[in-house]
Amino acid sequence: MKEFWKRITDKYGYPKVLITIFLIILCIIAVIQQQNLPGLLKDSLVRIGMNGVLVLAMVPSINSGTGLNFGLSIGILCGILAGCISIELKLTGMTALIAAILMSIPFSVIAGYLYGLLLNRVKGDEMTVGTYMGFSIVSLMCIGWLLLPFQSPDMIWAIGGKGLRTTIALADKFGKVLDDFLSFNVLGEPVPTGSLLFFGLMCVIVWLFFKTKTGVAMIAAGDNAKFAAANGINVNQQRVIGTILSMVLGGIGIVIYAQSFGFFQLYTGPLMMPFMAVSAVLIGGASAKKANIANVVSGTTLFFALLAISLPVINKMMPEGNLSEVIRIIVTYGVILYALTKVGGDN
């Protein structure tokens, strides 16, 4: 038994094993509580489709050597900005969603390029700098959301007529368009086919990217910068490309997230979002140096299924207070903390 335990923790890492066990326990409790099991399954699938692309955004940044992208909120802001523009243009339905995604890309590329240049000057401290760059850009954009000249009455405050609302409802814009795309019922619950397919598609694209010449060079640069440089790879350039890709995926990710969630959350909404994505990819077995698509898929599935199932289960056990939120905090930061201690210090 002890040997078996050691073998699986060595193979999958503690976070993955522990989270899996926790998830199984929650499922058993859910059965005992006679929860609506197909409903829980649906909630899990919705959350996976909702967050998948955001988690995927960690892969290019980790593999290019800039580590976990704690500054992902910058890409997220680009996506929200693009989404708001698409609403301002009075677009609806699938057109609005595609327009938002396409418009987010140029913003994310510019932001990612600048952020990548910054990260090249702070090598070794990307995580600390990234976290606080993310925080400060989010708080700067808080002023931006108040001052940007948006006019659409669906987005600005009804009173005063100035500044965007803290949450922008997407119900009659592009809310759920991807979730409902090709949706079919399983055990009486709708499956968010479109979002899951999109997540799968993005995974394939990223996977294919890492098969290209640039992708291979990026992995080499992230794996061993000196060795890569000796082989004629421009390490700094690869890091910038990785950062740009990460930001682009972040921007697309938040649009997908919002269409499924039904709202854009402005102002301090994006502040802590990167940590969820970081935690999910770490649960999937990624490290601060290496990540692949399998890590993303398994991490997203475990982490977001856990969140989806723990919510009704724990609320039934303890209706008062916000225990499921507490569990989320402990899991998210516990996993990140574990990864940090495992990387170890400089010496």
Binding site: I330, L337, L340, G344
Partner: protein, 370 residues
């Protein structure tokens, strides 16, 4: 050994003396200007501003001072002081349960929080010793993680494992602390012991005495053997190790002192505020204290008592005036509030970037030479 360190230090300072001047004085000067403009734009009267400044200095400075020793010991900005703040809140919750008010209650809170702070500080130190060179991001994540554990304890253990039957503080289900605890029974217990009124500005003498005592103790510690060890560690951890300093132990002591001071600081802070938001009073403690220290011209590797005082003064002046300034300039107080939180995050981000950039350039140059 010491002279060697001094020489190498002098070389460094001459090399980046321009950077040093920039880092030492440009930030406070910039903020003096911003504050002046803010005061002008806010159209507040001076007595009000001075009163607010005195209140905010007396309630925040202790927390800011708690950051100095880890910076000196080369551990960077201690984002983990939120854990100390949690220890302080444990002390306050304890006296609330025991129902001890007034100055006795205040002292009791300090006393109860201390063992928790020692324990938490020791734990934090252990983790930070495992992640040398990444103390700041680890400290930040540790703070968030500890926040989760803290919430878990007070949401589920109160009323179950810890038997408390006070309906004033326990949720109606009998388990878990309420979101907000009234601290009226110790509010101003320190501030109002002796209160001077100078030209309309009320000064909480004892609180300020507390802070002064801490300043002197800090200055004393810096001069002892322990203080020298901290500084040696701050200059170069490898050299410190070679010269026979037990680096891990010294780092543990540094972070433990900081944690205990943060606990006391949080108690002083909350006895002035008068309400404990059980689940989020501590969340932003680290960010505000660190931003205040940096505004005073401190950096990731250097912080003095003077910088802490100047920084707290400027940062909180900005806090007082920016909503009013925002309202007068843009017709919206919200803009001023977002502006000040941008300043808080921005000044930390800038300082981290500068530090990382200098560190990277130094290593880069070393590589080129080698």
């Amino acid at each position: 050994m010491n002279t060697q360190i001094d020489i190498s230090k002098r070389k460094q300072t001459s090399k980046i003396s321009f950077m040093n001047i920039l880092a030492n004085y440009s930030v406070p000067i910039l903020f003096v200007i911003i504050c002046m403009l803010g005061i002008y734009a806010s159209k507040l009267n001076m007595t009000y501003i001075l009163n607010e400044i005195v209140i905010r200095l007396s309630r925040n400075l202790f927390l800011v001072l708690a950051l100095i020793i880890p910076v000196m010991a080369g551990m960077g900005l201690n984002f983990a002081i939120v854990i100390g703040a949690m220890a302080g809140q444990i002390g306050l919750i304890a006296i609330k349960v025991l129902d001890m008010g007034g100055f006795t209650g205040f002292l009791m809170a300090l006393l109860i929080s201390t063992p928790f702070a020692l324990l938490f500080g020791y734990g934090t130190g252990q983790i930070l010793n495992k992640t040398k060179g990444k103390e700041m991001i680890t400290g930040l994540m540790l703070g968030y993680f500890a926040n989760g554990l803290y919430q878990l304890v007070f949401l589920t253990f109160m009323g179950t494992i810890i038997p408390v039957n006070n309906p004033e503080i326990i949720l109606s289900g009998g388990v878990g602390l309420k979101n907000a605890l009234d601290l009226k029974f110790i509010q101003y217990s320190l501030d109002n012991l002796i209160k001077l009124d100078i030209a309309g500005v009320k000064i909480p003498v004892v609180t300020i005495l507390f802070i002064l005592v801490l300043c002197f103790v800090l200055r004393f510690v810096i001069k002892t053997k322990l203080g020298q060890d901290f500084r040696a560690l701050g200059q170069d951890i490898n050299i410190a190790e070679v010269s026979g300093i037990n680096t891990n132990k010294t780092r543990l002591i540094a972070i433990t002192i900081s944690t205990v001071l943060a606990a006391w600081g949080q108690i002083i802070f909350l006895q002035n505020i008068g309400t404990l938001n059980t689940y989020n009073s501590h969340e932003q403690v680290g960010m505000f204290a660190i931003a205040a220290l940096l505004v005073g011209g401190a950096s990731v590797t250097k912080a003095t008592i003077g910088q802490a005082v100047v920084g707290t003064l400027l940062f909180h002046t900005l806090f007082i005036v920016s909503p009013f300034a925002g309202k007068n300039l843009f017709g919206d107080a919200q803009i001023g509030e977002y502006f000040r939180s941008f300043i808080a995050y921005g000044v930390i981000a800038l300082s981290l970037v500068l530090h990382a950039w200098q560190k990277y350039m130094k290593e880069h140059n070393k590589e080129k030479l080698g």
